[in-house]
Symmetry: C2
Subunit: 135 residues, 2 copies
Amino acid sequence: MVAALKAQGHRITPQRLAVLKILANSENHPEVEWIYRKIKKDFPTTSLATVYKTIHLLKEMREVIELGFADRGSRYDGNKPYPHPHIICTSCGAIVDPEFSSMDQMAREIAEKSGYAITHHRLDFFGLCPECRKK
Amino acid sequence: MVAALKAQGHRITPQRLAVLKILANSENHPEVEWIYRKIKKDFPTTSLATVYKTIHLLKEMREVIELGFADRGSRYDGNKPYPHPHIICTSCGAIVDPEFSSMDQMAREIAEKSGYAITHHRLDFFGLCPECRKK
DNA sequence: AAATATAGTGATAATGATTATCCACAGAAA
DNA sequence: TTTCTGTGGATAATCATTATCACTATATTT
């Protein structure tokens, strides 16, 4: 990630390094507030805005993926910065990465292996529609 | 839907009927503002809050599903109120329901049949984690 | 049909995550 | 050292959604 930042002409600041480390090392798909609190321990003067800016930067460079939700804050993943399924607890918000084989048995397998009680899912494909491709 | 509302002891008001009709008949996965504007033509005094309340109600009765986004308003589907994949234009926001067979070829098939240029996707499973199941 | 109880509506304030703004500062280049 | 641009910090602004609350409409009961 550091290399990617430098390559694009961005500076490596202590604050950025801190955000970056947390994103690269955490398995829990953290939210901004969580990252912010962790950073405050080492750099008490860090602003929340800086955390947002850094995440936004890494997101644009595709070093981090965002899991956006309408009813709560976004969650981030710097470990596997590419599309992959998630299991999300609708009660406590825990997020884990399931392993599975085919789409048909997917939900069943995921439920078994993860111990989650799957109630519903969401599968979205993003891209440009025919109209927008022309432009 | 009307039956479902009555069954749960809810009143059938003109405003609710209007929201309900729109949700049941539109193929475009409308957003709240769009629904609101359409309703204003027939019931100019309708409040935006009422639209939100009605949608929330239908969502709770599982008559409508919500596609929530972090960076824009939610979109709703009253035609197929059960989990199913979507193709979403990251430029204009157009949403369509693809048809496909297996997970492996899914993205490819969807791209071909829909004409979308798929760049990424999102597949989320929701449910209760082991901890929350105990409670 | 009138009365009553209560759910629903409308207007607006509040909320909360995220983004924009703006100024001061830091680090590289000259 | 001076300059120049990128970055950080603090806070205001934004925007979709929800909460609030007084008023109204609806369905039921009498």
